[in-house]
Amino acid sequence: MSSEAGAPDDLVRAVEATLFAAGQPMTIEAISAHLGQAEVRAALDELQRHYAGRGVRLVERGRRWHFETAPDLAHLLRREREEPRRLSRAATEVLAIVAYHEPVSRAEIEAIRGVQTAKGTLDVLMEAGWVRVAGRREVPGRPVIYATTPEFLAHFGLKSLKELPGIDDLRAAGLLDPVDDDMIEAALGSDHDGDATAPGQNDDGVASSGQSA
């Protein structure tokens, strides 16, 4: 393997070129398959080291690798006009719940939020490519369960869900345990009925006035 300062060897160059040219993040397996089953792990490590201090860096997001611009240059590169979809408070909350609790059913999301979640909210997140249907829970009713996608990790700059902010503390505090609080559930239960007509329950992905996001 080449030294940091010297010229990179052919495999490193090949991995570098492949990832530069790729239209989307690639798994190690995909890179390897593209390069004739070469062993690319070490080359990725070397590239990651090489790019560490540069304007572009090599990152791993959900087992997929891609180059992206260094975050400290955001102020220079940020494109105001192309701001990603603004999510409503409801949508960001649901997204966080899916990420921290995945896989999670809609009923479980609702139990945490204390309100019904409009179908549109999950649709918005799935359309953004951040949430996917991850099968069904094998319990009565076989509810659909949701999970995050590799695009979610890539978008929010996470190598894996383990890097979610504060997740270890939340888990230690028991705040990510399954919700099975029958008593309060019963107290809140009526809101599942009254919810549809209740004012202010704009779960449709549109932030209402007066709410700070």
């Binding site: 040219a21 504060g166 004012p199």
Partner: protein, 272 residues
């Protein structure tokens, strides 16, 4: 970034993190009663009220929280704001919880009101934690907003290249086929031996002219000598002669008769 993703929060716990943003509650204080639309259900309102206590969520006073909630509901009713049913159900449940909390310990049911209060607290903590997590998530360096992938990737392509196959014999046979197709018309006409309709009409009418009585159609056919021995040609002659007979009958020059189905077809000239 005010929330660097890589810096672990203080071990104090998630609840503190969750209440970083309590300042926003202040701006809402006077607008509290006008903002019924601002909450997503009673739990959301409770959480907002709890934030006003400005303490760790684990240390909030549930009794105080209940009072605040009930006060809010009362004032909303005084202002004739229409409250959704779930706000009222929560109010009833909290009123019950409050009275249970104030009752002497020995009259407690199971689960105890303390445990119920604890569960409510946990509920609020959970929702608060997720709300804060969402804010931190949104504040991260986001791909396409703060960091960018390559703008114009060349793209990786796997081209499927066809390796065309063709055998020598296929090539030669294909040429043979083309050659055969190239002259089909001449070929077919020369090979096929038929008696044409014109010659049949001529033949039948001239023979009828000399006949005196009814004649079987078959008698008009040429004798099966060497030139007419071919069975295909004989069938053609029979068919043409039949059509000729029909044509002569149609134009009034002959009469046709058949005694029974599939019986011999006979014809005779019409004398004028």
């Amino acid at each position: 970034m005010d929330l660097p993703p890589d810096i672990a929060p203080e071990p104090l716990g998630a609840a503190e993190i969750a209440w970083d943003g309590a300042a926003t509650a202040e701006t809402r204080t006077e607008a509290l009663y006008l903002e019924i639309d601002g909450w997503e259900g009673p739990l959301d309102l409770l959480l907002d009220l709890a934030r006003r206590q400005k303490v760790d969520l684990r240390r909030i006073s549930i009794l105080e929280l209940v009072d605040q909630y009930l006060t809010y509901i009362e004032q909303a009713e005084a202002l004739r704001l229409e409250l959704a049913a779930d706000y009222l159900v929560m109010a009833a449940w909290l009123a019950y919880l409050k009275s249970a909390l104030l009752l002497p310990k020995d009259e407690q049911e199971d689960p105890s009101p303390e445990e119920l209060a604890l569960r409510l607290q946990l509920r609020l903590q959970r929702l608060g934690a997720m709300r804060e997590a969402a804010a931190r998530l949104m504040g991260r360096d986001r791909l396409g907003r703060d960091v960018f992938a390559r703008g114009a990737p060349e793209g990786l392509r796997v081209d499927r290249r066809n390796r065309w196959q063709c055998e020598w014999f296929d090539l030669i046979r294909a040429y043979g086929d083309v050659k055969i197709r190239a002259e089909p018309v001449v070929h077919m006409v020369r090979e096929r031996m038929v008696m044409t309709l014109d010659s049949a009409i001529q033949r039948v009418s001239s023979m009828l002219g000399v006949a005196i009585d009814w004649m079987d159609l078959r008698d008009f056919l040429p004798h099966a000598s060497e030139a007419w021995a071919n069975p295909q040609l004989r069938r053609s002659a029979l068919a043409s002669s039949f059509v000729a007979a029909l044509e002569l009958a149609r134009t009034g020059r002959a009469e046709l008769a058949q005694e029974e189905t599939f019986g011999p077809l006979r014809l005779k000239a019409v004398r004028r």
